[in-house]
Symmetry: C2
Subunit: 138 residues, 2 copies
Amino acid sequence: MNSLTVGKLAKIVGINLETVRYYERIGLLPKPERTESGYRLYGNKDVKRLLFIAKAKELGFTLKEIKELLNLKIESKGTCGDVKKIAMNKISDIENKIKDLTRIKNVLQKLIAHCINEEITTDDCPILEAIEMDFNKE
Amino acid sequence: MNSLTVGKLAKIVGINLETVRYYERIGLLPKPERTESGYRLYGNKDVKRLLFIAKAKELGFTLKEIKELLNLKIESKGTCGDVKKIAMNKISDIENKIKDLTRIKNVLQKLIAHCINEEITTDDCPILEAIEMDFNKE
DNA sequence: ATAAGCACCGTAGTATGGTACGGAGTCAAG
DNA sequence: CTTGACTCCGTACCATACTACGGTGCTTAT
C-alpha cells in the first residue's frame, strides 16, 4: 500500500521531489513511513493530498490556508462545532472568490461578444472599457 | 480629476505606497502625470485599476497574468480576433477555477451537514474523510 | 520661515514558495 | 561486484511580490 518512493510520488503528482520534502518540512505533508535504510514511503493518501494542495494553490490559497483546510479533517482536539465554524468561514471565502471570478468572466464574455468585426484593431474595440465599467458594481 | 498623490492613492486602495511605485516599475500601473516638482498624480482610473489588481491577486492570478488581463483592453496592436482568443482562454481558466472552488465548497458543506452533534470531538466526526472522497471525482 | 509631514529615488531587505547542490549511502541490473 | 539511478540531509540559492531605508527635496500649517 505504501510503496512509493519520494521520486515516484513526485513524478505521479507532477511536482519536484524537493517540493515534497519542503512540504514535509513545513508540516503540510505528514512525516511518512521509512524503510529500514531511511527511504520515505508514500501511499495513495499522499498522492491525493498533494493533488489537493496543487489545486488549492492555483485557486489562490496560501500554503498556510491549505494547511488549515487540510487540518479541518485531521485536527484531533476541539469539537465538531469548531470545525463547523471554520468550515463556514472557508465557505464564505470561497463564495466570494466565485463571485469575483464570475464577474471577471462576464466582463470577458461581454468583451468577446462585442468583438464582432474581427478585423477592427483593438484600439477601436469599444468594449475594451468594460472591465472598468463592470468590475466595481457589486 | 487627477488629484491624488501616491500616498493618498495607496491609502484609498489600502495598499502600501511602495507597492504603487513597485507596480509602476514593473509596468502594471501606467506612468502617472507629474506635478512641476515631480510628484505623481493619480485619478479614479488608477484607483479602479489597483482594486482590480487586488481582487485578481486574491483569485490566484500572478501579476504577470493580471497584466495580460489588463492589456486586453490596452493593447494597441493586433486585431479584435487576437483579443478574442486571449479572452476565451482566460474564460476557460476562470471556469476551471470556479469548478474547483465549487467542489471544495461542496465538500465543506457536506462536512458541516454531518457535524450534527456539536459535542462529538472531531476525531469522531465521520465526514472528515469527505475531502478525500469527493475531491477527485470529475 | 521653519518644522512636520509628504514625496522623490535607488537600493537593500523580507516573506513565501520553491529549486538546486553536493557529498554520502542504498538499491537493482548486468 | 560494480555502475548507474535513486535517496538521504543540510544548506544555499532563486523568483515573485512586496516593504523598508535613507538622504534629499517639496508643501503646508503655525
